[in-house]
């Protein structure tokens, strides 16, 4: 018995595996979110933010996928197309993400110049002394 047939005997497992793209999204999202919250280093926070945003890109892209669909180009012999709109939308969001990261990195450089550290706690500490 091959794997696919074995899995089909367990409906819960099928529904779990059938949505594996969404599970990937959730795992990435939570990983990124956790890094943003838990890490003290401002650079690592930005990387976490990036992972967090990337998970949303995946969410959008997998939304547009149509099973058995081709790329949305008109051609004879193909009638099922993937939805191109989510990919186009997410292209915009990717650009936004890059802009956010670059502004964030620029800020970290300035913070390093001004404080000599990129640890959030150290930065706060250095401001407490008047």
């Amino acid at each position: 018995m091959d794997f696919a047939a074995a899995v089909e005997q367990y409906p819960a497992l099928t529904s779990f595996l059938g949505r594996y793209n969404y599970w990937v999204v959730i795992v990435l999202m939570m990983t990124g979110f956790y890094i943003v919250i838990a890490r003290d280093n401002m650079l690592k926070k930005l990387i976490g933010l990036n992972i967090f945003q990337t998970s949303v890109f995946l969410l959008y892209i997998s939304m547009g996928k149509v099973q058995g669909g081709t790329a949305p180009i008109l051609k004879e012999g193909f009638s099922v197309y993937a939805n191109p709109l989510p990919s186009v939308l997410i292209l915009t969001a990717i650009v936004v993400g890059i802009a956010t990261t670059s502004v964030g990195l620029a800020l970290v450089v300035r913070i390093y110049d001004a404080y000599g550290t990129v640890e959030a706690d150290d930065v706060d500490e250095r401001d407490e002394v008047p």
Binding site: V36, M63, T92, A99, T100, L107, A114
Partner: protein, 493 residues
Amino acid sequence: MIRDNLPALQIVVPLVTAPLLILLRRRGLVTAFVLLATWITFGISLALLHQVLTDGPFAYALGGWAAPWGIEYRVDLLSGFVLVLVSGIGAFVCTYSPLSVALEVPYRTYGSFYAMFMLCLTGLLGITITGDMFNVFVFLEVSALSSYVLISMGSDRRALPAAYRYLIMGTIGATFILIGVGLLYMMTGTLNMADMAGRLDSVEHTRTVIAAFGFLTVGIALKMALFPLHLWLPNAYAYSPSVVSAFIAATSTKVSVYLLIRVFLTVFGVEYAFRDMPLVYVVMPLALIGIVSGSLVAVFQNNVKRMLAYSSIAQVGYMVLGISMASVTGLTGGIVHLFNHGLMKGALFLAMGAIFYRAGSVHIDDLKGIGKRMPVTTAVFVVGGLGLIGVPLTVGFISKWYLVSAALQQGLWWVALIILFSSLLALIYVWRVVEVAYFEAPPEGREAVDEVPLSMLVPMSALAAATVVFGINTEFTAGVARAAAEMLLGVGG
């Protein structure tokens, strides 16, 4: 021709001005262009509001692509009203700004500073005018990215971590909104708000839509600094350049409140947002905690800009409280307070900017005796402060009147008490400044400071005067707000 394309011009004018400003190297030219562009933008928004008031709401298909496929700009009473607020504050702040910016921002970044300012204005106007959910996200990021840069230009080094923190929290908020929009698109197959509202009825109880509702609520709450998601706000307002504090405090959170109203009432509908979802039990308590804690913390601040920032958190609480009561009176109160608070906080932060321009500090100890040295500036602060307290004949009274009567209508007498209690706290923190400014002698050994030049006095006095004018003659503000509330709740007109 121009009249037909006004909705597009509302966005295009500031958007096109931004890159021009970087190319223009001369300060005088930059200033002239900024003033021209912001006043034209203000004029356009007035024309749009006038058009809505005479002909009713209208839509504009961007690039000639019909909705729901193309991006649609939609101007109704609410968005017209908020457009006037945002572009008006933009115009007044810009008129005030050149001297203050020249002092606080390095010479070589003068042009790029204003370019960022125009982009921020573009983004805020865009969020307000668009009728497309994804377009909201794009404009949100345009305004957010430029405001991170603007805040980081503050002369205090603490502006940098403040901008960084805002960047992190703002991006999380925007990404949450993006997730919410994606989930809604998944279920409805459309991004146009009006179209989406129609198609949501059949799927509104699926888990996906409920999740989308949650993501959108939290994302927007982050953006508007609703308690307990307000942590980015105090430092961002306190350490950014004076002009930026005034502009962002008066417009940015207001536009987020607008977005909340738009998403709750236009897209999801009042039935869904307030009857089916347990929103009232979540948002109203948070708004009330925000009102009390914001005012309470403000009392203990020694940096006056920081104090005003905490007061802003309380004021956002008022607006959300008004919305969460989901009655015509409550929503009117929320919308009218959105407008009034923009005027008040604009005037207050501009007054602080003027004091910083002369005295070089906004610490409460450095304000001793400032009332005699800078009588007009201090008077502007007092008028704005009276508005925050809610004294009759100022705009603050009008909004609180609506909020209290909405609370009493629903038998929520304790909510009314909390509003009054918070007003007392506002009295304390405004009084602290007034006492220092008028009743204490200026510290010895310090240079005497003079009143600021006329170019700063006039815009700031105009805003302060507006808070009194709209406090006495409420026909325009409260009238439009009530009509907008009735339209949103689907009653009356």
